[in-house]
């Protein structure tokens, strides 16, 4: 696709059958995923509000198949690099989401128009095992690597991999390096890492192939906290150095 990187305006979403309770929406790039994911989440939030809080008069019974009703059937919404998965409640028809997706796409805000939320600031001790190696491979000093990693403004593009793990976009292109050729058997919980165009913080210890820059003491995922995941798709993130 020849979309301008980051504008998310080119390429209509393709809605594909994905089992009897889901559709997979294919999009041109990450920015398009982000824009559609935000637009559909906003529509779900509006549909979930009690009727008294909604503007206008309640819809008549005949309008049962209206957009808010269909939007309310979505129970899982999973953005990824080029796709958005929408899974509906048992018995609901995912095919009914096609006009909802088209409408949300028409109503979406591009990155430039979106009103950014306050970023989550994560304090990092930059003493990671791969910090010196990253400096060497990028031709930067360790101080410059840290400066570039903390200067960027990140956005959670999507989750996956493990509970609370968030793929952060916005990494300085000078820090773009492939994953390690052989993954580590154990990456410690809280490790702040980079791989390809992404940065991330490991919520728990796990095998992993990202390059470790430092560590962060804030729990990323806690089932007893509301919300359990600190970083959710769309959340803005900044890193600050405390080393």
């Amino acid at each position: 696709m020849s979309a301008e990187p980051g504008d998310g305006t080119v390429g209509q979403p393709r809605v594909l059958w994905f089992g009897d309770d889901a559709v997979l929406v294919e999009l041109a790039d990450l920015a398009a995923v982000r824009a559609l994911d935000d637009a559909i989440r906003a529509a779900r939030d509006r549909a979930a509000r009690p009727p008294a809080a909604q503007e206008g008069t309640p819809a008549p019974r005949a309008a049962a198949a209206s957009a808010p009703t269909v939007v309310a059937t979505i129970v899982d919404q999973v953005p990824a690099a080029r796709t958005l998965l929408l899974r509906v409640a048992r018995g609901a028809d995912p095919g009914a989401l096609e006009p909802v997706v088209a409408h949300a796409w028409a109503q979406r805000r591009t990155a430039a128009e979106a009103v950014p939320d306050e970023p989550v600031t994560l304090e990092v001790v930059y003493d990671g095992e791969d910090l010196a190696g990253v400096a060497e491979l990028t031709g930067l000093s360790v101080a410059e690597v840290v400066a570039r990693h903390t200067a960027a403004q990140y956005t959670v593009a999507f989750g996956g991999f493990m509970p609370g793990f968030a793929y952060l976009t916005g990494l300085d292109p000078a820090l773009r390096l492939p994953r390690l050729a052989s993954p580590r058997q154990k990456v410690p919980a809280g490790s702040v890492a980079i791989a390809d165009e992404f940065s991330a913080v490991y919520p728990a210890a796990t095998p992993g192939g990202w390059r470790l820059l430092g560590r962060c003491a804030v729990p990323l995922f806690d089932v007893d906290r509301d919300p359990p995941a600190l970083l959710r798709p769309g959340t803005r993130v900044r890193f600050v150095s405390t080393s």
Binding site: L16, W17, D21, T83, A89, F158, G159, M162, R232
Partner: protein, 281 residues
């Protein structure tokens, strides 16, 4: 309350899962044969979301610490109460101190035990299901565990027995094309019309099959995308993987087909060595 004497091979607490968290890396999980758990709950007049026990290959032994009403469904193995054989898919009234034992079924993989009032272990993110992939939910049952039972529902059982169709001998999974069907030379024909066998590397995460390798047209890289239960993914070795209830929330190999909703419960009942076919349907 119920005391676990022997959990057998693997017994997990399961309900209908925890929807709504996949975007932060926590999948739906829930009973692998949701229909069987629903039936067990209906028999004891529970809400269908009540938690029960998912028993892999029988072997569970429990003792009741108070009077309870239970029903056992799913893979049709023998069941004994204090040594006396009792019916599957039936409402069973047990006095305090009764011992319930599940034998091994000759067909199927998982049986379900519903207890009137539900297994009342603490919920995690709104569900009592154990997700073996994400590592969320109660630990597998261990000998000596005492399981709390919730308050009895207002309704009473309305039938004594739920007649079931005979267990299928021939397994046919109906599928429709998945998002990457065009990545394969023959499309769905590469999958349908061949016999596959369930391998021992099969669990709640996925059914791993062996059979004629399904070849794709090009070795392109696919960016990770969200998954659903029943997604048939084809890794580079060409051996299909059919995702189950504890599937990872995203996957990075092409999805050739997706199993129809009406056959998803079957995926949770196929034991290693079982043969199966896919059909377009």
């Amino acid at each position: 309350m119920i005391e676990v004497i022997d959990p057998g091979v693997l017994t997990l607490v399961q309900d209908l899962g925890r929807p709504g968290w996949a975007h932060v890396g926590v999948g739906r999980s829930g009973a692998a044969d949701a229909g069987a758990l629903r039936l067990a709950n209906r028999l004891v007049a529970n809400d269908e979301h009540a938690a029960g026990l998912e028993v892999l290959l029988g072997g569970l032994r429990v003792r009741t610490l108070g009077p309870v009403t239970v029903a056992i469904t799913g893979a049709p193995g023998p069941v004994w109460i204090d040594g006396r054989p009792v019916a599957h898919d039936a409402v069973l009234e047990l006095a305090a101190g009764s011992q319930v034992r599940l034998g091994t079924s000759t067909v199927g993989l998982r049986s379900y035990v519903a207890v009137r009032g539900g297994i009342a272990v603490p919920a995690v993110l709104g569900s009592r299901s154990t997700d073996q992939f994400a590592g969320i939910g109660p630990a597998p049952l261990a000998a000596g565990d005492v399981l709390p039972v919730g308050p009895a529902p207002r309704d009473w059982p309305i039938v004594d027995l739920a007649p079931q169709r005979p267990w299928p001998t021939e397994i046919v999974l109906p599928v429709q094309p998945g998002p990457q069907v065009t990545w394969f030379d023959d499309g769905l024909a590469a999958l349908c019309g061949h016999e596959f066998t369930v391998t021992p590397a099969t669990n709640r995460v996925a059914l791993r099959l062996s059979g004629p390798a399904v070849r794709r047209r090009q070795a392109r890289e696919l960016p990770s995308a969200g998954l659903v239960p029943g997604a048939v993914q084809i890794p580079p070795d060409g051996q299909p993987v059919v995702f189950g209830v504890d599937h990872p929330v995203t996957g990075g190999y092409p999805v050739l087909a997706v199993v129809r909703g009406r056959a998803l419960d079957v995926i949770g009942q196929l034991r290693p060595g079982k043969g199966l076919r896919f059909v377009v349907g």
